[in-house]
Amino acid sequence: MTTRQSALQLASRAFPEPFQNFLVDRFARQLKAELSEKITDEFLEALLRGMEWALLLSGSYRRNIDGFFGVCVFRTRDNKVATTAVFADGHMRIEGQARSTYNVRVTFQDVHALWSFLLSENQDILDSILKNTVDVDGNLNYLYRFGFLAKDLTRRLGVA
């Protein structure tokens, strides 16, 4: 966590929840734009950054990961996009590469496939598997929890 982030988290604790939500809305605006307008190659980055900010700024959102330790890897098949979300002790950290040990690893064809898999209102997971656009390895429960975090954030941002 950067000094700026630590300071923000500390400060946000003093704020009432509506103001915390306002801050989340501001800091996750890139994700909001992605979800309200068009999914671009920046979607995964925006989602993870949005989650990171929300976990820093919102106490109620942070409660979602109380006591949660887990490593979720996201990567494209060609490894051009590869990132790891590490949850530990109420914090989330984003790493710019795919860890080799993980609880769950999601390999996706492109960001649109990932968006469809995680957040689409009309998910057709069988279709994702059918078209081989998403492949999951490991403990699915970690992905389910991550899916909840993602959907809870989009709900808070009003773009669910």
């Binding site: 109380d66 598997i129 699915l140 992905l143």
Partner: protein
């Protein structure tokens, strides 16, 4: 004894109060209930069970007893949630059921089992109430409880993860295979369930007597594990008794408070009945039903609501029914009303199906089969007056659950009874399913039942037979995508879904280089065994994990075998054990083999054009496709009495040989059956064009039904199925037929309907034991089409899928299309009615 003059009981109608409750039932959408998962999680944590490497029966029993004692004793429900134009809204209704208690705390609930697969609902908690099909209501507080208190505790402790942690590297690779959905589904991560408890002793003697029996046996044995097991049974039985008493006390309290004289009387009677049963022997028909109902709720506390079945209720309850009728304490009409209320209770829950499962299982109920009719253990006619009363109650209620199955023994049961069963199918459009006792009993005796045990069979889940109250057979353990074995054969161990550059199983050679059809069959056999091996190995791993973590003391206490053996069901305590495999895509594979034999290896020289055509989805091969699909050119299963059936018999025997000597972790054997639920649509999406002319992604034929469009005559279609050896299908079969409902005059239609079934069941007509099972949809093509475009007008349209019954509106579009496209026969002529294939449009059928 059958004293009623009119076995159709057509003058018996639903009473207004029951009718009103039924309407509320249809209005209500299922609601997620968090009571069970919250209590189970809390008590598991308090008892340190999350840290254990093994959980004993006694530890589980103490857990369940606490839950039974603590769960909310709901006597009458007052609220539900319904769908409106602006979303889900609460509505109120009057409940007057004589049966208190419920499977969940909701009027119509979704019970959650976090020990198994409930966590799949986690990503959907905020959105499931907005699902287009099969939405669930859930409140914000309940979301909070699941998200923060329940689900996190089970992330590494549900069955799949416990098995993964204990499996080998090979097992983990098999789990990867499972997660692809392409080859098979293994259902143990979700449940075992799929069985029929023994209610007869609970009804006859009461739970206190069973409990005392367990304690006496505990005193007599010196084996510490048996001592613990008997104590476990006593704990859970005491828990059920306490739950009944809590309901009794609650009803008494409500009676004291109400000013309404009728309600006061009703509640006072509930308090009296629940104060007596299930603890004591049932003395009336109503008390017998109450005992079964209360035990049923307890069984569902322990075992997920998938395929648990009630068995031969017309036999278990007949004496009590007869006593009440003879003593004029009850009329036939009263009995129908009581059954109607119990049917609503039985249907008070739906299985949790996450969005990901909609394509495979969407629209399924809990598949709680009830069995009526047939013969008794001595082989005598067992159809009684209660058989007809139950049939009438089913006919009037027209519910998805319970799933009624009727047994018929040709030559022993009366023809009028068979005709009445056919009439019920016409009246309901879809129920009951009919089973031929002669064929089923032969299949069961060939798979290890004694003759008396086989004669006392009941139907489990969809269509699977097993001896009533003594057979722990997990009939739905594995759902096997049979065309995937064909795919591996066609591409020498590769699968188009994964790309033909990857070897998935083993190389068996390029079939275009084979010299004969026998060589192709040999390669197919190898690939089939490979798929079977993967599925069975995984089932065994999951089974052993169940043994370590999920003993079943409640079900064991209500079963024949565990009391005598001193062993939990999960450890092989039942009198009879097995594991079941449902084969999906049988007719497509048979027809593919027929086509390959004739058009590839039947040519001189061998012609492999067909193999090229399937890789191109028949594009550019239209003439070949027309030839393949023409039953006059190529033998087809269900259209050609000799050549079309040869490969069917070979395949059924090959599947039987591949499984029936394999012993499972409980000491039973594997057995195959042919029913597909909705999986013939889901699995079809993973397989490219097949040699029988089926194109990429299209549905497979359901159950054991011949493929649609190639069986122009009913007689030949039925003959083909009836010719298959019954002993090769001891895990049951589903043969789905569609009849035109408005076909001439009703009397003639029923005559022809009855004759068609009798002919199919007839052993003397040169086909072995006769057909084993058959089920119907008797709804017009026009109604189906309209139900797709205007589902609200057809919200109670009941259909047979492939085994279970469902509401048509709840099925996914692909499944709706499959039912619409099934071959429809005119009963007057036995000829298929020609219809164009239904055009699937995006979003169709999803506005329920």
């Amino acid at each position: 004894m059958i004293a009623v003059q009119d076995i159709s009981l057509r003058d018996v109608k639903l009473a207004p109060a029951l009718q009103s409750l039924r309407e509320a039932y249809f209005r209500a959408i299922p609601e997620v209930c968090v009571e069970r998962p919250r209590l189970i999680t809390q008590f598991s944590a308090e008892a340190g069970l999350f840290e254990r490497e093994r959980i004993t029966s006694l530890e589980k029993a103490r857990l369940y007893r606490r839950v039974l004692e603590r769960r909310t004793p709901v006597v009458w429900h007052r609220q539900g949630h319904m769908r409106t134009a602006s979303g889900l809204e609460e509505f109120s209704f009057d409940d007057s059921s004589p049966f208190a208690g419920s499977t969940t705390s909701k009027f119509k609930g979704v019970p959650l089992y976090p020990e198994f697969m409930a966590l799949a609902l986690w990503p959907e908690l905020w959105t499931m109430s907005r699902r287009q099909s099969n939405p669930y209501y859930i409140g914000e507080e309940e979301i909070r409880i699941l998200n923060l208190e329940v689900f996190p505790r089970w992330m590494d402790h549900n069955l799949t993860e416990l098995a993964r942690a204990r499996g080998t590297e090979e097992d983990r690779q098999r789990m990867q295979l499972l997660q692809k959905f392409v080859f098979f589904l293994a259902s143990k991560p979700n449940c075992i369930s799929h069985t029929i408890p023994d209610f007869s002793r609970a009804v006859r003697e009461g739970l206190r007597a069973i409990l005392n029996d367990a304690l006496e046996r505990q005193d007599r044995t010196a084996d510490p594990s048996q001592q613990d097991f008997y104590q476990a049974m006593a704990e859970v039985l005491e828990g059920i008794i306490v739950y009944a008493h809590n309901l009794s006390d609650t009803a008494a309290g409500m009676a004291a408070r109400t000013q309404d004289a009728k309600q006061k009387a009703d509640l006072t009677e509930i308090a009296r009945v629940y104060g007596r049963v299930p603890e004591q022997p049932a003395q009336t028909f109503r008390e017998g039903l109450t005992t079964i109902w209360l035990c049923w709720t307890a069984i569902h506390l322990e075992n997920p609501n998938v395929g648990l079945s009630l068995g031969r209720l017309d036999q278990v309850l007949y004496d009590l029914y007869r006593q009440d009728i003879d003593a004029e304490r009850m009329t036939v009409e009263d009995a129908v009303q009581l059954l109607g209320y119990v049917w609503l209770k039985i249907g008070d829950h739906v299985p949790m199906v996450p969005a990901a499962g909609e394509q495979l299982f969407g629209g399924t109920g809990s598949n709680q089969a009830i069995t009526i009719g047939g013969v008794d253990r001595e082989g005598h006619d067992a159809v009684n007056e209660l058989t007809y009363v139950m049939l009438r109650a089913i006919e009037l209620m027209k519910l998805r659950d319970p799933n009624l199955n009727a047994r018929y023994y040709p030559g022993v049961n009366e023809k009028d009874y068979l005709r009445r069963l056919c009439e019920a199918n016409v009246n309901t459009g879809a129920t009951p399913a009919l089973h031929n006792d002669r064929a089923v009993i032969q299949a069961l005796t060939a798979s290890g039942h004694t003759l008396a045990q086989a004669r006392d069979y009941g139907v489990i889940g969809c269509v699977e037979p097993g001896s009533n109250g003594r057979f722990y057979g997990h009939s739905g353990a594995i759902l096997l995508n049979l065309p995937s074995a064909l795919e591996l054969t066609l591409f020498s161990g590769r699968h188009r879904h994964f790309g033909l550059g990857n070897i998935i199983s083993m190389e068996t050679g390029d079939p275009s280089t084979f010299q004969s059809f026998a060589e192709f069959q040999g390669a197919f056999n190898l690939q089939l065994h490979w798929v079977m091996d993967q599925a069975i190995a995984l089932n065994e791993l999951f089974g052993r994990t169940h043994q370590q973590f999920y003993p079943t003391p409640i079900l064991s206490a209500l079963f024949e075998g565990p009391m005598e053996s001193g062993k939990d069901l999960i450890d092989g305590g039942a009198t009879l054990n097995a594991s079941g495999i449902a084969i999906i895509g049988f007719a497509d594979v048979v027809d593919s083999l027929n086509v390959i034999e004739k058009l590839v290896y039947g040519q001189q020289p061998t012609d492999s054009t067909l193999f090229q055509a399937i890789t191109k989805n028949y594009e550019g091969y239209e003439a070949l496709l027309a030839r393949v699909r023409n039953p006059d050119k190529v033998p087809r299963f269900g259209a050609d009495e000799v050549n079309g059936e040869k490969n069917a018999i070979w395949l059924a025997e090959t599947l039987h040989e591949a499984t029936h000597t394999r012993r499972n972790y409980r000491g039973g054997y594997y057995r195959v059956g042919y029913w597909s639920m909705t999986n013939h649509a889901g699995f079809g999406r993973f397989i490219g064009a097949t040699p029988n002319g089926r194109k990429d992604g299209e549905n497979f034929s359901s159950g054991l039904t011949p493929c649609s469009g190639v069986t122009p005559h009913l007689t030949a279609a039925l003959h083909a199925v009836a010719n298959l050896p019954a002993e090769c299908a001891s895990n049951g079969m589903a043969v789905n037929l569609k009849f035109t409902p408005d076909d001439g005059d009703r009397t003639r239609m029923l005559d022809n309907f009855t004759a068609a079934v009798a002919g199919y069941f007839d052993a003397s007509a040169d086909h072995g034991t006769g057909g084993m099972e058959i089920q119907f949809n008797v709804t017009s093509h026009r109604d189906f089409i309209e139900a797709v475009s205007d589902p609200s007008r057809y919200d109670q349209l009941l259909v047979r899928v492939s085994g279970y019954t469902a509401y048509f509106k709840d099925l996914n579009p692909q499944m709706q299309k499959e039912i619409i496209d099934r071959t429809e026969y005119r009963l007057s002529s036995g000829d298929a009615v020609p219809y164009e294939p239904f055009a699937l449009t995006k979003g169709a059928g999803h506005d329920n």
